[in-house]
Symmetry: C2
DNA sequence: GCTTGACCTCAAGCTGACTTGAAGTGGCAA
DNA sequence: TTGCCACTTCAAGTCAGCTTGAGGTCAAGC
């Protein structure tokens, strides 16, 4: 089994060593051993980091991620909860879709004030019921 | 023209007064006048706040939002840049879609270690080329 | 054996986005 | 005209998520 130095993990994942140490400190990833003082990471950590990157972009906190797929690899959470998280991501996808259309609209619509443009308002209204 | 007190804006938008003052301080929204000491917001601010909420969930910083649709209402940015932002949101949508499928997979796949499951890896690989 | 350089720890610092607290203001109803 | 209470300012505090710096370690190559 070939393990990875923190520097190698950093290079391959694009996550800085300081961030990796931080992730380990909060229990989001784990090194399997030490070589001298140096942490040795299993190759799977690269997959985990990819997943962590996705979750970050979905707005999950490190704490939530730790709960979702703890330090050891995988889910600590009941299937129901995971499906709920998936649904949450689904809602965020809908929001972002509305935002993307809104941005395209702003880019294309020649109206002076977008706030008065009906199609603009409609786009925002799609985003959530909280919008007047 | 009927203007809104900060408390009313807060109640209707779900954004706390302190956050609204903060947004005004950084130039993301603007009050039109004062009634005594009290800020008076135009009703459009509710639309702006909806948009701000979307952008937050897309991961844009307040600074970026200020650049995108300044204090006065709308875009300070060339159309090209706005379209680029829309594309950026599009990429994030793709990531989140991959994440949603991944979460569903974790919830459903009975394999003991997801990191070794080929379909799990495939999902992560969809998320970005940075993944091994 | 010595140097080098990539790692280590731990504490402190930083950024973004607010929140909190203390002390003050002023419109409005009684 | 008094008092209430929702507002005001400003400075300081908080939280997440890292980053930085000082000082130390140690495996490997010369």
């Amino acid at each position: 089994m070939k393990f990875l130095d923190i520097g190698e993990v950093a290079e391959r994942s694009g996550v800085k060593p300081s961030a990796l140490r931080h992730y380990e400190a909060v229990g989001l990833i784990a090194s399997v051993s030490r070589h001298g003082l140096r942490r040795q990471f299993p190759p799977e950590v690269l997959l985990q980091l990819a997943l962590i990157g996705l979750c970050k972009s979905a707005g999950f906190s490190l704490r939530e991620m730790t709960a979702m797929f703890g330090r050891n690899g995988m889910p600590d959470l009941p299937r129901e909860t995971l499906r709920a998280k998936a649904a949450e991501v689904g809602r965020r996808i809908d929001e972002l879709t509305a935002l993307r259309e809104t941005l395209r609209h702003i880019a294309d619509c020649p109206a002076p004030s977008h706030l008065e443009c009906p199609s603009f308002r409609k786009l925002l209204a799609q985003a959530g019921p909280a919008v007047a």
